[in-house]
Each structure stands twice: as structure tokens, then as C-alpha cells.
Subunit: 237 residues, 2 copies
DNA sequence: ATAGACGAAAATCTCGAGAAAAAGTATTGA
DNA sequence: TCAATACTTTTTCTCGAGATTTTCGTCTAT
């Protein structure tokens, strides 16, 4: 297991919530990323406390946690809102992700041991299977694909010793997940995503840093291009 | 002014607090960075609410805000602690800062206009003056020098259009401020810090990106070396 | 003497109500 | 008809008390 008591991990992902506030936080986060609460929407505590079945103060705390992830913005004395989205913001997110994730991958390739390699292969396999089942007709939810895609990218950089890079990367991944949902909702996962993942794995295991980071960059940037092609009204609301 | 309503800025720095929770948050942050609450210390709500003269729920909220800055860690059902410090952590912070800040400086040099140049020169001047007064015998508080040093570094990268990089950089700066206090408390500001700042300004205004980023990197890394030379008991507690 | 378990004390988490602020609505005057 | 003002409603912010959980000291048994 991971040693705890070290700051830069907002909340451990897999463990189950130990407090009502944290439970509400996770539900809210999912609902925001899924688009149930839309960008720019006002989040009224009085309404939401019933919906999520917690007290006002507790829900407030959950909202505060979401501010940490920059999925919610708090404005002085005027309550909370779902963080707005924009093309400029997504471009920023994407470029920053590239900066952090390539650096992390570079270190991961340099430092990763056998166990890391095994994890990379394993998570890639899980992701591939999810893609198969997804194309096969709803044998596998997109929820599950997202989960495995996330796991794959996380494992790739797991050998990077910098907790801070991983922490920031984590935040940015959640952010971009909101945008990716928009694009995946329209066009199902294109075929070449699998090929890109495969290429990254190959390069990483061959310890070919330059090649691996190059492909990863293209891979991330491609999502940006996909979102750019979306109709305006999906983004500017 | 800056347009608000955009997420990645935890709380606007200069404006005055609009809520009790935010006021408590700022006091607490200052006290943590100053070392009044020491790394690893438990932050008991029941005690602190009297000290900061707010209700329990309000103080709780202030603590939650500090979690965003990673100056405080919240552990499940076991309350809050001041984020611990370690040499490894500071090394991580420093390297990540270099990664982000050089990238930001690079873009700043590329995109900065006349107003940016003017701000760079101005903030450098203010910083230099603070250094003079500081060496001159306490005409100027170290508090003020910190403030201006911070402003200088912020202005340097202010022409970088990426809000996310600036946001992360902001967090890391606060973090490293804690460590820098440790080293500055012992040895007052060394003479060559001024020269380094001067060199950065010169290279930046000459639009010499390679040179500017190189000096900035050395500049940031030097603080790491200084902290590494500190006695162990200052860091590991 | 060490390990484990029981019980008391402290701290955290949670809730609902009251005070302060913002937003919305209606009224009045030009 | 429009603008400004006063009032009402909604929402946020703040506080203190009760329910759970953790923590710490003590006691017993091996």
C-alpha cells in the first residue's frame, strides 16, 4: 500500500469514503464530470442538500473539496458554481498536461522496474479488452472504459517519483475528462486510439523515451483536435 | 483587472477577505508558512476556533481551503494536520517548479509586450530596494522582501497565457516559501541573489530564452542546495 | 514484563436554526 | 415608458449542540 500522511493527493481514489462529506463529494464530482450539473450552473446548497441527503454544512464541505479539483468555483459571498468550460481552457489544460505527462513518462521510462513493466502490460490489456467489449455492443459500459483508460495512463507514469507532478496531472486528467465526455458522446471511440496506446506501450517497454513521449504528445493533442471540431453550442454555454 | 469567474485561482491574493472563513484561512496560512504551526502538528478545531475567534464549522472550512494549497492534510476521520516537510518533498517541489516556471518564462519572453517589460523592470527595482534596506539594518522587514520577491517572480511569468501553469506555480511557490524561511532564518539573503535576479532580467529583456531559463533554473536550484545544507533537526520533525 | 482488551476522555463529524447578504419584485415618480 | 427606490424572498454564511469515532490510560491474563 501507499504510505499516507503525505500531502499531494487530494483524496485517495480507490478507498471507500470515510465521511459523509467525502461521499457527497464523490457523487457530486461524478455528476459534474458526467455533465448532470452543467458548466456555469449555480450550485445552491439548500437544493442540493436534499438531493444528496446530507446537512447544509456537510454539503458545503463537499463543495469546498471540489474547489480543490477546480471543478467548482466559489465566489466570495455569492455561493458556488460549476467551473465554466471553454475551448481556450481546454487548450490550456491539454498543453499543460502534455508538459507534465511527458516529463513524468520520461522519468518513468528511466526508472521503471520489472513490476512497472508488468503493470503497464496488464493495464493495457484490460483497456484493450474494454475496447473490444465496447465495440461488441454494450457488454461494457463507457464508465468502465473511462476507468481503465484512466488506470492505464496512471500506470504509465507510476514510476515517476514526483508526487507533485502526479498530483497536478491527476487534477488535469479530471478536468479533461469533462471535455472528453463531450467528444465521445458524439463519436464513439475511434479505432486508432487502440493503436496509439499500443505504440506507447511498445516504445515505453523498449525504453525509447523520445519515441514514447512523441506519441503520447500526439495522443493527448488529438483529443484537443476532436473537441475543437465539436459544434460551438456544446462548449459555450 | 482580471476577469473573474474562471476557476484556476484558489483565492484572489490582494483583495480583502469577504467571509470569516476566508479571513481565518489567510491568518492560518500565514501562521503555517511562518512556522507558528509546525509541520506535522495536529490542528485541533476545538482549540483553534477560540484562537482565531470563529465557529467550529467556519474554521473547518478554512482548513479545507488550506488543503487546496496542500499546506494542510485531512485524514479521513482523524482531523487535520499541518503538511509534513522533508528533503525529498522539497527536492520534488523544486524540480517541478523548475519544469513549470521555465516553461512559463519561455512563453512569457516570447509573448510579453512593452507593458510586461515595464512591469519586470519595476518589480525588479522594488525588490532591489528592499534588499538594500534589508542589508542596511532593519529598515525593511523580511516580510516585505518576501512579498516583493514573490511579486518579481510572478511578474516574470505574467505574460504566459496558461492559467493552469500559473496556478500550479502559485501553489508550489507557497510550498517552497515554507522551506525558504528555514534557510533564510539562518543565513540572511546572500549577496549573489541580487546578481542572479539582475541576470534574469537582462536575459529576459534581451529575449534570450535559453539564457534566461538557464539562469532561472540555477537560481531556483540554489535554494534547494541551501536547504540541503541545513541541520537535519530543522527539517525532520 | 509484555500483549491484549476494556473503558473513559477527547476530538471529529454532522445537523438544524438564526443572522447577514444578495437577488428578485413591486411600487412610485418623472 | 423608463429609472430609481423600497420591500420581499431567496440564498448564503455562521454558530452551538448532539451523535460517532478515535485516542489514551489502565487493568488483567499469559
Amino acid at each position: 500500500m501507499n504510505e499516507l500522511a503525505i500531502p499531494p493527493e487530494s483524496v485517495a481514489e480507490d478507498e471507500q469514503p470515510k465521511t459523509l462529506a467525502e461521499a457527497a463529494y464523490r457523487q457530486l464530482r461524478r455528476d459534474i464530470i458526467e455533465g448532470l450539473h452543467r458548466p456555469g450552473d449555480k450550485l445552491r446548497v439548500e437544493h442540493l442538500k436534499d438531493q444528496y441527503e446530507v446537512g447544509a454544512g456537510t454539503l458545503r464541505e463537499a463543495l469546498q473539496l471540489l474547489v480543490t479539483d477546480a471543478l467548482v468555483v466559489a465566489q466570495g459571498q455569492r455561493g458556488f458554481r460549476v467551473a465554466p468550460i471553454s475551448l481556450d481552457d481546454f487548450e490550456d489544460i491539454t498543453r499543460t498536461r502534455v508538459l507534465l505527462e511527458t516529463s513524468a513518462l520520461q522519468q518513468s521510462i528511466e526508472l521503471g522496474d520489472d513490476a512497472w513493466e508488468a503493470n503497464v502490460v496488464a493495464s493495457f490489456h484490460l483497456l484493450s479488452r474494454a475496447e473490444d467489449k465496447l465495440g461488441d455492443g454494450g457488454k461494457c459500459s463507457r464508465e468502465e472504459w473511462e476507468q481503465r483508460n484512466r488506470a492505464f495512463h496512471e500506470v504509465l507514469i507510476s514510476a515517476c517519483p514526483s508526487r507533485w507532478i502526479r498530483h497536478f496531472q491527476n487534477i488535469l486528467y479530471h478536468q479533461s475528462e469533462r471535455y472528453r465526455r463531450l467528444s465521445l458522446f458524439r463519436q464513439p471511440i475511434p479505432r486508432d486510439v487502440h493503436a496509439e496506446h499500443q505504440a506507447i506501450v511498445d516504445a515505453a517497454l523498449a525504453r525509447n523515451t523520445a519515441e514514447a513521449t512523441r506519441i503520447l504528445t500526439d495522443h493527448i493533442m488529438r483529443t484537443l483536435e476532436a473537441v475543437k471540431r465539436l459544434p460551438d453550442e456544446l462548449i459555450n454555454r
